[in-house]
Symmetry: D2
């Protein structure tokens, strides 16, 4: 088990600068501030559509709350068996999801193939009332193995999931790396390829406690403000989180 990941790296200097600049005057808390609005606008610009943004303090929270929001408690969440949500979040998705079940799929190099996804959806007994129902497909971008889902890879598995009535969540803890390496826009590799919700990591990109959950269809985010609050993730000095995130949003633009 190697914790010496990029979590251990320093905060990018421009993030601390941004926090320092945010540190003046008297501002509304809990996200009702100008900086938070700016981050939302920047992320909407970045993704080329109006998105709903929820800042949170950890990647585990970003995954668990987004999955819980998309899946029913009797839903199955299909992901690669080596994915972080499967192995290293101490059951956070199951807890926030009211006892949903994670189903680990095999796949070379950390990736789920369309063939394997089809096989599992066809092979297993699914469906109520006796069996859980496929509810969410979770993709990790870049994967734990360092591999990347191309636009075509993503579109292929997302189409299978959508055809089955499932939603597609992306664990984007290393999303920036993937975008940079693919040479595509953030929009192309997410909603244009079928991703419904992105847990967009910034911690690993040089920020602190500034993860974001992004709903590409804001209507799907109904109830998410309450879910975040009761999940202990609505930070009061929200503008500092936004400031940290803003820098990241800015640099993300460069990937495109």
């Amino acid at each position: 088990m190697n914790f010496a990941s990029d979590n251990t790296a320093a905060i990018a200097p421009q993030v601390l600068d941004a926090i320092g600049k945010a540190n003046s005057g008297f501002v509304l808390g809990y996200g009702s501030d100008t900086l938070t609005r700016q981050v939302e606008r920047k992320l909407s610009d970045l993704f080329e559509r109006n998105v709903a943004v929820f800042l949170l303090s950890t990647g585990t929270a970003a995954n668990a709350l987004s999955i819980a929001h998309l899946a029913s408690p009797w839903g199955a969440v299909l992901g690669h068996r080596d994915a972080h949500i499967m192995t290293s979040e101490c059951g956070a998705p199951e807890f926030f999801g009211g006892g949903l079940k994670l189903v680990g799929l095999a796949g070379d190099d950390g990736r789920i193939s369309a063939a394997e996804l089809k096989r599992v959806l066809e092979r297993e007994e699914w469906g109520g009332p006796h069996h859980i129902s496929p509810s969410v497909l979770s993709l990790t971008q870049a994967t734990e193995a360092g591999t990347i889902y191309s636009v075509a890879d993503t579109a292929a598995v997302a189409a299978i999931a959508h055809a089955r009535g499932m939603m597609v969540q992306m664990d984007g803890a290393r999303f920036a790396n993937a975008v940079a390496r693919l040479g595509v826009t953030p929009a192309e590799i997410t909603w244009k390829a079928g991703v419904d919700v992105l847990a967009f990591g910034a911690t690993k990109g040089g920020a602190m406690a500034a993860e974001a959950v992004i709903f590409f269809d804001p209507a799907r985010a109904s109830g998410m403000p309450e879910r975040r609050k009761r999940g202990g993730q609505l930070m009061s000095k929200h503008r500092f989180v936004a400031a940290a995130r803003q820098r990241n949003g800015g640099s993300a633009r460069r990937w495109a």
Copy 2:
């Protein structure tokens, strides 16, 4: 509803300084760092005994996770009916606590009196299997009304709770103010008066996302690391949270 609380104030400059100083080199994440160890030692010094410390990102998480840890799912958590946990956390204690119930007590000036606590414990139907059982007493220090529990006040209600087999949790979102105004030591107004666990706010005291749950009996914290992780509250760049907290720990010492 007034959100223009001290949450809206700036981060204390020395907190940003401390974060900046922590921002060098390559350090283990997830709390396995020297700064986190230092914060634990400082808080143990501050409270004059060996304490178990869990840093979290919000006061709501600090309350909800500490209460969930102390109460059974069929437990009643007694607190003042105007307490933050009762009115303004969108059901976070109930969620983290597996469906426990908050029971709001009356009380002048935001405080629960020993008489009222006794009355409620005697009056209501309590006990399994048909009824929930009193499990935790939650005190807010200072209260939402700006009043303070003296050492004698705290000891009186804590003794009643302990006699009933309940645990005593303190929502210390404004703990520093209370200590300063009472002119007592942090130890005197917490564990020496019967408080078992403290949700020790720093956000309102000039820090950012650096709340702490403090167990005065570390043995009671068994399982809390897992609870924090699966609660989405184990921050990866933990040393910065610790750095923010350390400044607060330092200033807290001055209260005593």
Copy 3:
């Protein structure tokens, strides 16, 4: 505390007869049997519309699962403070509802008045993300105090609830008595007056382990089969439960 309620009375002889008659041959389990279909038809006849029926083993399960199905986890369930769900179900609605909150209203003779309901909806702080939101109104018919909501009483409070976007659940543990005393049809005192879901007790009416949850709009029952199964309430030898229930359904017709 008096448990010597009608729960302690005998099973009606015709219920045992019906179970005996159901006890022959080899029949599909888990509700896929003819008797269960018959019960559904009888209840649809009784209520003068196509209803969705879910048989369960206890009144607590009928209340808890129906409330959990209608309320969001950050919902407030408003009911009389002396209602069974408030005092005597050991937190079952909170557990099945993912940590929702029950809010007890005052009211003479066990009944909630339109005035009190309005007052509470206007007075309290409600709404996300900081506060829970009114989600379900639960009425007990007949009440714990032995009183009854008339058609006009029911319609008045149901209209207020619906105007607020809430759903109306009825704990009908003693529903048969209420219908008999009011001299109305089951339809008039339920969906025609604004009740969305009824927990229809049969145990107290002479049956055994044959409670029913009735959705007057079957479309609202989507997901309820899974909820019942994972709630441990899908009985395998379902035809016997149905048989017990059928007798009750039959006698219920006589009330009208």
Copy 4:
């Protein structure tokens, strides 16, 4: 998927007789009756030690509540991947267990071998705060494949589990068959071989809605009465459940 299991068979005539005989007079509900006491005594006799008994309405509830009682929410429950709890309870153990995780093991003929159990315990990443911890071993007796764990088989895997600090739960939906075929006493194949808690099916043995959870160490059952009540499984006309169970308890004796 074949539901035409023994769930579809009739109720044994002596069960209906017993219910009929219980159907006289006025008796305390909710388990405070003489028949329930008798069932407890009979089961204590059957298992040759003082056991704590909890009657419930379904096998799913018996499994889910017993597992939830033994495991922590961040616990892993290890069982055969074809076990009923894994495939056919629509996530009930996860729901009642607060989001615990079921981990399916391979094994010929539906049985878990000591070698496979050891391998999984050694191979996987386990332990807080990042990973879930092995908490319960669940054995199915007889298995879904119709095979049986011998006394030696059971003792071997139970010893491994206990050495790891895990508890051993047995899904005894077909327990009677197993005992009959093995030619051992119920005690020999349960607690004497290391089973801590048994979900003892009666539904499949000719009863109706009369499953039992049996704690071989009654001290471990602390809190279980509340868990059953809030789980919607404390039946009010409890003596009839007990009557149905008593017959089964009686016939179980004959196996030994």
